[in-house]
Symmetry: C2
Subunit: 450 residues, 2 copies
């Protein structure tokens, strides 16, 4: 009964019609939100290298099997510096005793168990700290209350969160506090990875909630000396392991050609990783499931990759790219959902050949979702970056991030913040792109892609 | 140079014109916000009986003196059960390990220092717990996730926060967790006083943030058994002392007749007591200051009272009412600002003679501020309640509380949440009412007021 051999032309719907049906189905079912809810409830937070991240990987593999994917596997890799959060407390000792809401930056070294107490050196802007001479912060806790404006996440996380502790230590500081790299005015602090430069003392580093940073600004206007007590007891636990979870729907004509839809399974530990990146996991798993349930698979293979250990430096994404050579060449395009719940606003492209006709067909198919053609530049998402820099073409489904920088990396990153209409539109975008790229194919490479 | 003796009629403005000037001045200066900012910054949180509450009282007396009030004094009183918050941690042990955001209810007893771990008995509604037979919760942590809808604060705080721990203990529970008595969807928990019934074991009691309560609801749908670990180490510290701070502008004709504007100086310890009740303190201090700076004082005395230990059961308000007898009869009217930043929407009246002509004049004077006549029922505010029940007439300047139940009693109760336009309108309302009541007078008592 090989019906497909002589399927009547009338039954062979246009790829766009099938994509539209998938988009409708994914929205009506709210499947992406259901998956994200299950993950964040049944597993909870998923710190890189943790037992919970491992449980999440097992959960995802089981779920992929239940959904009937053709191949499901995981690939394990080392993460150099395992780390677990400990106690974290801070308070103003004088002039006005009060608790401060803080959280350790990821990878921070601890204070002594009893904490440290010292006068602060207050800087409204990171530039002021950088202008301070070496030795000038000796014995002090450096506090940088540089505000993050909308659109400045990369600047603040890269310029202050990453480099701040070593810049303060180089000048003699014994600890580093920064205003959270987030836009929320709630009294929750925002974590994220820091890093230490070699040859400079590694000092404890934490983020203050935005209202706490503002409180210190006000105190600094009124009082000459402010003393803070800080207790941070995170632990470095040596090398740990993480894993990428991979599942495929085998292409019906060119199974060796791969369209990759990614998200990351790990999360920071303060919330339950709903916005970052439970929604992404829900979106790409739901997209894969529905594509897999079609009467016939698309021409090329659709591969869903749930990366591990993204938050500590794209470790899963780098491992994925570095451990493949020939296979990478068979990735015709890759994209990732890692910017919250959406909606998707633009389709950016990071390809060598932007004139491939499939691109305008895909962009046209996204129009009913309100998605506009975007920039001719994209690295596809954080975990796609490493493979993109090795030549894998990338699509960037650019999401509306109005609340993303309020929520991600904070205790507020919980599933109640996700609105069905928003995640459903994003899921519709990813299923459309995943299906059409795999069905239509496209030769996106060109000489200007390495 | 007794110029007032022969002041030309043209210089004697109508009371309403003076009140309008005061209202304009208080709004343009943003004085109420300035005071609230100073208090919450320079003192911070002000838990009843704490060193910070005492510092706040000293701060307020100094400020009243600087503002030139005629009399400034404080009255000290005992508070039976001093209490300080300790460590507070909770986590789901199984099925999905994750931290929970909680905070001890005020007055809670501690767990053992190492905490307790137990299966939970989950109740979606308090009625379900009340329907559980005695002994049925033996060895369990009772968790009530009853949601608070808008307008239900009194119901939830009275019915669940106050009575829940003893109702759970009576049925054998070893600890009590409730969904926060608040409407905020942030991951911050909401404290407030609980109370224990005599003859029933006193068990540790805490509030979960709303998203954490929702997480437990979802887990309870999916898993039969949920185990929670709870560590609470608050301390009862025996009897402590608090104080009411009082300042007066002596009336020019009938100094023995008192118009009382109140607020409370104490706060919960999680935030800095900005909305509850730093704004109220700012409003009534600013109103008093500007009235005191008039070329001539109003006919009757304006008394500003900053009550102590409100949060643990109106201790300052009760002491004020109970320690006065004749003087209470000379309070012609009292009102309190203790519902956040405003704006004031209605002027309610709790008087025996609602037809006193001054009431319609005051209500008319509030019209330009958008304030409408309200109900013929008011106890004047929490701390005014005890004196009102002894016969002191009350005005209730009823505030818009859209964000109040998101913020008060939580770490989010910080000054950044206060919007100048809102507190300024409230301050304008209180200065209008304070001045006009003292200038116009009024006989508000009648036989139906005790």
């Amino acid at each position: 009964m090989a019906m497909f051999v002589c399927m009547p032309a009338a039954l062979r719907a246009a790829p766009e019609a099938i994509a539209a049906k998938l988009a409708q189905q994914i929205q009506e079912s709210s499947l992406a939100l259901e998956i994200a809810t299950d993950l964040t409830t049944e597993i909870g937070p998923r710190l890189y290298g943790s037992e919970n991240e491992k449980r999440a990987a097992e959960w995802a593999m089981k779920r992929f099997h239940e959904y009937g994917f053709d191949r499901v596997w995981s690939e394990s890799f080392p993460v150099e510096r395992g780390w677990i959060r400990g106690e974290e407390k801070a308070s103003i000792v004088s002039p006005s005793p009060q608790n401060l809401v803080i959280t350790a930056l990821g990878g921070s070294v601890p204070t002594p168990p009893e904490g440290i107490e010292a006068e602060i050196a207050h800087f409204r802007f990171i530039e002021d700290l950088l202008a301070a001479p070496e030795g000038s912060l000796k014995g002090k806790i450096a506090v940088v209350t540089h505000p993050m404006e909308i659109g400045q996440y990369a600047k603040i996380s890269g310029g202050i969160r990453s480099k701040g502790p070593s810049e303060a230590a180089r000048r003699g500081a014994i600890a580093f506090l920064m205003r959270s790299a987030g836009t929320d005015s709630d009294r929750v602090a925002h974590t994220g990875a820091t890093s230490y430069r070699d040859g400079i003392p590694r000092i404890p580093a934490a983020a203050l909630s935005v209202p706490d940073a503002q409180q210190i600004d006000r105190l600094a206007e009124r009082f000459k000396s402010i003393r803070i007590k800080l207790v941070l007891t995170p632990k470095e636990i040596g090398a740990v392991r993480s894993q990428n979870v991979i599942a495929e729907i085998t292409g019906r004509e060119k199974p060796e050609e791969i369209v990759l839809l990614g998200a990351h399974l790990d999360s920071w530990d303060l919330g339950t990783g709903a916005i970052d990146d439970g929604t992404g996991v829900g979106i790409v798993m739901a997209a894969g499931k529905l594509i897999g349930e079609l009467p016939q698979a698309p021409k090329r293979t659709v591969r869903i990759v749930l990366f591990g250990a993204e938050e500590i430096g794209l470790v899963g994404g780098k491992y994925y790219a570095d451990s493949r050579t020939d296979e990478l060449k068979r990735h015709i395009v890759a994209t990732e959902a890692d910017a919250g719940q959406g909606p998707v606003q633009f389709m950016d492209i990071g390809v060598g050949n932007p004139l491939d006709p499939s691109i305008s067909r895909i962009r046209k198919a996204l129009e009913p979702l309100g998605i506009k053609p975007g920039r001719s530049k994209s690295s596809g998402g954080p975990d796609i970056g490493p493979m993109h820099s090795k030549g894998v073409p990338a699509f960037g489904l650019s999401m509306f991030t109005d609340d993303y920088f309020d929520l991600h990396h904070t205790p507020n990153d919980t599933i109640d913040k996700v609105e069905p209409e928003r995640i459903n539109q994003s899921a519709a975008a990813f299923v459309t792109v995943g299906y059409l790229a795999a069905e239509l194919g496209g030769y996106y490479r060109a000489s200007d892609v390495r």
